[in-house]
Symmetry: C2
């Protein structure tokens, strides 16, 4: 079993309650990666809704209340409506009696109408992978701060990696090839992680440090084809101590498979 | 009192429960406008959190479960975390025992760090208002379908109004000057409405009809200055029977005051 599948697995206790064991390998900065936590909740939702023919996250919104740590956690799922082709569901991830994140989501079946595509967005352009910048090129302080970086390959577009050597390009853009550890192929669940896996886009403005997520919504728009993903983060409005971070994920077949936006705090 | 303030008002019953009277003047297509419902919930959240110094919506995510109708409704508010400078809160809007929408939100004080602005997004460009297309220019079928249209002035950029005369421009873009009825000045609460007030952007692709919202998240990024707002909707990914609709709202001072995204169903 892949590292991703093992560390996001949940045990069904019945009645919409699941046990999880959060894994320290997803640590970054002050806590566990928010995308990892979202994928773990997403798996509990999948377990709940797959029997009803709604295995796939379509829209998932998370509000982050406190920093999660490695160790036991519980997911509590509440199906708010299940009718027609989709279900709306609420869920909390709880540790030691503290809610870490609270989630609303719509689940359904992404095989429905899958061939109806009218995308005017243009695919992310990246240099060949051998010209991109992997984690081995990052200065040791970044690698030591983030065990997360060993969970996947993110081969970054060198046009936007100046921040790593003290020369931020002030573009507000990051882009990378992305593949999970163990060559685990992407699926709708892993996309929840992928949308929050790259460094904070504020790094490109030279504003380093932990940028806690206030809210993150992921729209999974199609099942991804096997192979490398292309991921792009962008921010256009740093204001009031907060910034938005938009993310697009394109699959190996050239399809836009996920769109997300988060609101996060500017590092102090 | 303005129409907006009167029809979004709530009565505090104590214990996080509020009574509302949903107003038929916000009707459009198959139900009441989703932005109006969100603003009504937003007002109940404001009543709950203003005493704690957190009067302003910062991020609000709504999942729409069933179509609301004119008449009595209840809002149930549950404060999930209140500490530091923000609070996270959950709320349901309920009618006749049916949940119409369920909401997660972060509230705070938009006067904090209000002068810290580093926006790289470019302001919406619109022709002068006298060259734009108001509701009086819409064919009667549109006006009759939507009492909503009398609640505000939306003076649309004529570059994108071909759909109204059977000549859709296939741009995926709509833009308009916006002002509430009664010249009611914009505030953070009314921005929740403004982000969902224009026609569905799919009209520009000639795909007419009711486009039910699955999920809508609004980030209020600053308190708007008095005067006309500029609003722009755009979609870039119609696929799988769904489309995203991004919205930006700029105020009379040239500031980006709200960013939203919704996922909605393509009309059948």
């Amino acid at each position: 079993m892949s590292y991703f599948d093992r560390t996001t697995s949940v045990t069904d206790l019945g009645g919409g309650r699941y046990d999880a064991e959060l894994d320290g390998g997803w640590k970054v900065g002050g806590g566990l990666n928010g995308g990892y936590l979202l994928a773990t909740v997403g798996r509990a939702l999948r377990e709940t809704l797959a029997p009803a023919g709604k295995p796939d996250p379509i829209s998932v919104s998370a509000y982050y209340l406190s920093a999660a740590v490695a160790g036991p956690a519980q997911v509590a799922v509440d199906v708010r409506r299940d009718g027609g082709s989709t279900a709306v569901v609420a869920a909390d991830l709880v540790q030691d009696g503290q809610t870490r994140l609270t989630v609303l989501a719509t689940y359904g079946d992404l095989d429905r109408d899958a061939d109806d595509v009218q995308t005017t967005a243009t695919e992310i352009e990246l240099p060949p992978r051998e010209e991109c910048v992997g984690k081995d090129h990052l200065p040791p302080p970044f690698r030591d701060m983030a065990p997360l970086l060993s969970r996947f390959d993110a081969l970054q577009d060198p046009a936007h990696t100046g921040w790593a050597v003290g020369e931020p390009d002030h573009s507000g853009v990051l882009a990378a090839w992305f593949r999970l550890q163990d060559e685990r192929e992407p699926d709708p669940l892993s996309l929840l992680l992928t949308c929050d896996a790259l460094p904070p886009v504020l790094f490109t403005h030279g504003r380093m440090g932990w940028a806690p997520t206030i809210e993150l919504t992921v729209h999974v728009r199609a099942k991804p084809a096997p192979g490398w993903l292309k991921v792009r983060h962008a921010t256009r409005n740093i204001a009031g101590g907060m910034f938005e971070e938009d993310c697009e994920v394109w699959d190996a077949g050239g399809r836009l498979v996920a769109q997300s936006r988060q609101l996060a705090r500017v590092p102090r």
